[in-house]
């Protein structure tokens, strides 16, 4: 039997900065973000990003946390015991055995966005695996207002994965393909992942191309998220974190709907939570906690 292709699968990877000699660093702090779909671990050496990993979350939070931190430690010669302070965040934050403290991902994303995109960021939209959060923050990355939908996971990364799987399109190509349509179709009426899936099937039966379906789903998702943001308002500058920030099919449509461009950075948008957690760890370490 031919091996099944997993269209939803995105690239897992680890990274480290060979220019930093961690053995000379006075403070080594780590942030571990165990999300519903992806897990990241990030290590700071004296406040500089030294290494990180971006992997898929398994069914077990402690295992995923270990996998993530081992990924970040890989090839660096560093061991878990070299880390002075670590902070866990994300959906699985209370289940990370080696973390010194758990901090909510809302605070971490704001802090991470502040580091990645600068102190002018006022609105952060975290489009995660299974939820979506709108956050306002001040020039230090401190949360001033936030909103998340505690009930519904529509408009999130997992929805995209389901759509990629249904249409047999690699998830990375969704954004580009969703623009290869003659004209923008009306959005699908349901953004609930389950209903959207059956609606997409129906549209395919009625002769829509895959790209049309993608366009319709992306614009429905963008609209949904813009409504969430509408409640707290969008203040300049605007930044998107989480996996969906890599999908231009959503990002560009959302920018158009909101009438504001989002800030783009060289950093991977998925590491914002772990970065924020590591920055908190670094601050707490300097305050004397260990």
């Amino acid at each position: 039997m031919a091996e099944l292709q997993e269209f939803w699968r995105w690239t897992e990877y680890t990274w480290n900065n060979p220019d930093i000699d961690w053995r000379k660093a006075k403070r080594i702090s780590a942030g571990i973000d165990v999300g519903s779909v992806s897990s990241q671990a990030l290590i700071l050496a004296d406040g500089q990003i030294f290494a990180f990993s971006n992997l898929r979350t398994g069914s077990n939070s402690p295992d995923s946390a270990h996998k993530a931190i081992n990924g970040a430690l890989k090839d660096t010669g560093m061991e878990l015991s070299n880390i002075n302070y670590s902070v866990g965040t994300g959906y699985g934050r209370v289940n990370i055995p080696f973390a010194n403290r758990a901090i909510t991902e809302i605070a971490c994303h704001a802090r991470g966005a502040n580091f990645m995109a600068g102190p002018k960021i006022r609105t952060v939209l975290d489009m995660g695996g299974q939820d979506c959060k709108a956050i306002h923050c001040d020039e230090r990355g401190k949360v001033s207002n936030f909103l998340m939908n505690d009930k519904c996971a529509a408009g999130t990364g997992r929805g995209m994965e389901v759509m990629a799987d249904l249409l047999s399109i690699p998830i990375k190509e969704i954004g580009e393909l969703s623009y290869q349509v003659d004209k923008e179709p009306p959005p699908v009426s349901s953004t609930c992942v389950v209903f959207a899936k059956s609606e997409a099937l129906g549209l395919m039966r009625s002769g829509w191309s895959k790209n049309m379906v993608l366009a319709a789903y992306c614009s429905a998702m963008a609209h949904r998220v813009s409504l969430l943001l509408g409640r707290i308002g969008v203040e300049d500058q605007f930044f998107i974190t989480g996996g969906i920030a890599k999908n231009p099919g959503i990002v560009k449509r959302l920018e158009k709907e909101l009438g504001i461009e989002s800030v783009k950075t060289k950093y991977d948008s998925q590491i914002a939570g772990a970065l924020g957690a590591a920055l908190f760890a670094d601050t707490l370490l300097q305050k004397g906690g260990a």
Binding site: T104, F146, K151, C152, I232, F280
Partner: protein, 95 residues
């Protein structure tokens, strides 16, 4: 900081907004809520502060439309107990 707890669904928007800058941590709102939605805890959205503020209990956040309904009868409602109990005016409901 304003923390919005709740959700939006097909029937409307249901959020309890708590202004943690106004909340003085007195806890007067906790016992007056008949549905016991509120609890005092560290301000988890500002991990570097030591302040204790009120929040909506996590398990309750996705059903506040129903839990709050007894305080909001269609026949007209008086002051909400939680809002009335809050001297600094830190609690607001979106619906």
């Amino acid at each position: 900081m304003i923390a919005n707890y709740g959700y939006k669904d097909g029937s409307g928007e249901f959020f309890i907004a708590i202004d943690t800058d106004k909340c003085n941590g007195c806890g007067d709102c906790v016992p007056v809520c008949p549905a016991k939605l509120l609890a005092m805890a560290d301000d988890e959205y500002d991990p570097l502060s030591e302040k204790t503020v009120v929040n909506v209990i996590k398990e309750e956040r996705n059903k506040i439309k129903y839990s709050c309904a007894p305080c909001k009868p269609a026949s007209g409602r008086g002051p909400l107990p939680c809002v009335a109990a809050c001297t600094p005016g830190a609690i607001a409901h979106s619906w």
